[in-house]
Symmetry: C2
Subunit: 376 residues, 2 copies
């Protein structure tokens, strides 16, 4: 019976590092999950993704249920086989994209009904349907409950309503998921910026009982300070012996500050999206390769990262590719960015193990400040 | 003193297979050169290109002289270092793209003056400038003379005029190129569809003396039959002991028929361009992955080709990527197509060595016919 074994091997304050062991491989935590939206981590082969050191990737239920459809993925042997990724996959519930990309027809207690952003076709996503798609059809290793999100600005009353509906959906997800030998189900804490609502949400989820717990409803526009404020109390409300996952986060500074507050897992489109727009993430912050100062810069993006995109190609060449709008520029910068994020996670894990996370937080903060200086 | 050693190891009729040995590596002939237009074989890393079995790639003088400029490439250590391709590079003269992409201001005996298609800036390309760019600044292993092309339809008088100007430019290129230890210079036969002009062109080039000889002015709209008609006599006019290069060709059927007539080298954007548009080349001709018949086809494009794009990903997955307009679809199909073209060349070389080229020609012709049937 899952839950997957989760072993915390070292702590540094609230931060912890460890191993989540799944039948498809071990996930070193804190872990960053590249986002493979529509069955592909955008612009990269799975071998390139694996070379960055990723232990797990994320797949999007919303995109896959619309195209090629979850039923087709199932007929083709499941998501791992379809996209040739043999290590673990976590799928989201579809809820977030339904609300951000789909055209919502109705949100009821039973389900969300919406129109596809691709072809306008009508679909419904209920807790039970989300479980069927993620667990049975796509075959994810880690399945997320369906939750209801509220955008910002919102009211405490609206946040409470969505949190309580999410808790009721959590219960239905748990019932539909049932008992499985090789798959885990994570609940999602909601409650917006309210400590009381976050506590109520955590208590309800713990009562139902999940294999892991996500902090949801952040990275929706509250800003770094607003996020950190919630992370000062929210992760500690979730069981210490199970993985905690901060959804949709984030920039290196967000990640290191969240890890310092006890978060174990992250996902974000930032590295690949930035890469497709000419931006590279480094220890000195994000740089724009289109900038003329790189035109004859023969240094690589990061000589210490073994993937070719980071250490073998020059900034001058990347500058040329970005200026010429070459696909290879998007490929190499996406690849480097994912490799940099994995290097960041490896450094966070090492810092926690060696009790020097505070110094790493200062280093990442300095990089973020340098980047915003050079952008100004 | 170059010319590079060229050893013909077997013949089958007019066809020959052999080795052209350059300081940067051996080129197995007949050879197909992927086109790396603007310092990148579009959408692919150089490691992916190398994995297809390519011994040499082509770089475009026109694109590189405009962006990032040949002088910048030189300051960055030359084209090989700039783009991380350590094996041989052949550069074209720039003449073809000046005429097809640039806005011509004037073609005089001295030079072609034109405006950049990128930013409208004015440039001149003379035989001497082309040699400087290719040999000194980009550092190509094989340098092409500047020639003058005429589009179709044309007249014999116009074809004669362009051929004779090309011959005079050949002489100036040879003088400007001088004597070099590690670089070869190829002349280009012109003369359109006229056997007499082709003979005059060949005689003039041989008198000047080149390290290799290209058949130019084909693949400009004359069609397969028109091309084969010229190839029935043109290659035989060029020295048998030096490589013969058919520029800008082509489809598998064009290639095998040209090889049968004594051509040793080819280049074409077709595999990468087709790949970016959802098309895959196979022994059964070109197929369009967007076609619904591939939606649940679990077979790979070609299980016998070792690169992942050919043998590891399913057609169903490629269909999904193309439908979803994912960059990875363009990457994988470009990669497969280049690998298929290299497999085709390997098969042509083996067939020549084993005296069975006639059977291979029938096989490729059947594939081309099957594809045009299924397209109809």
């Amino acid at each position: 019976m899952a839950a997957f074994p989760f072993q915390v091997t070292a702590t540094d304050g609230a931060a912890r590092t460890g191993l989540l062991s799944t039948p498809r491989g071990e996930i070193r935590t804190p872990a960053f999950m590249p986002v493979g939206t529509a069955g592909t981590v955008k612009a990269l082969t799975v071998d390139q993704v694996a070379e960055t050191g990723a232990d797990i990737i994320l797949g999007n239920t919303y995109h896959l249920m619309l195209r090629p459809t979850a039923e087709r993925v199932a007929r083709l042997g499941g998501l791992h086989k379809f996209m040739r990724w043999e290590k673990p996959i976590l799928t989201d519930s579809g809820g977030f994209q339904v609300m951000s990309l789909g055209k919502i027809s109705k949100v009821s207690e039973e389900a969300v009904t919406f129109q596809s952003h691709i072809d306008g076709s009508r679909h419904a996503l209920s807790p039970e349907r989300s479980m069927q798609i993620q667990a049975d059809l796509l075959g994810a290793d880690i399945v997320m409950q369906l939750d209801e999100l509220v955008g910002l600005p919102t009211t405490e009353a609206r946040a409470a309503e969505a949190m309580r509906r999410s808790a009721r959906w959590a219960e239905r997800c748990k019932a539909a998921f049932g008992q499985r030998d090789t798959q885990d189900l994570f609940g999602i804490q909601q409650g917006g910026q309210s400590e009381a609502l976050r506590r109520e949400s955590a208590e309800r989820l713990i009562e139902i009982g999940f294999d892991g717990y996500a902090v949801g409803g952040l990275a929706v526009g509250e800003g770094h300070a607003g996020m950190v404020e919630v992370l000062d109390y929210a992760p500690a409300m979730l069981p210490a012996d199970r993985p905690r996952y901060l959804m949709g986060v984030g920039k290196p500074l967000d990640i290191v500050e969240a890890a310092a507050r006890g978060i174990d897992m992250f996902d974000c489109v930032l590295p690949t999206r930035s890469g497709r727009h000419g931006q590279a993430w480094t220890w000195e912050g994000a740089i724009n390769l289109k900038n003329a100062r790189f035109a004859e810069d023969e240094s690589p993006l990061d000589a210490s990262i073994p993937v070719a995109a980071s250490s073998a190609y020059s900034k001058a060449y990347l500058h040329h590719l970005v200026k010429a709008d070459e696909i290879l520029g998007q490929v190499l910068l996406s690849w480097h960015n994912l490799a940099f994020f994995q290097a960041l996670m490896a450094e966070i894990r090492a810092a926690i193990a060696e009790g020097r996370l505070a110094a790493l937080r200062r280093r990442v903060a300095a990089g973020a400040a340098a980047a915003s200086d050079s952008a100004a």
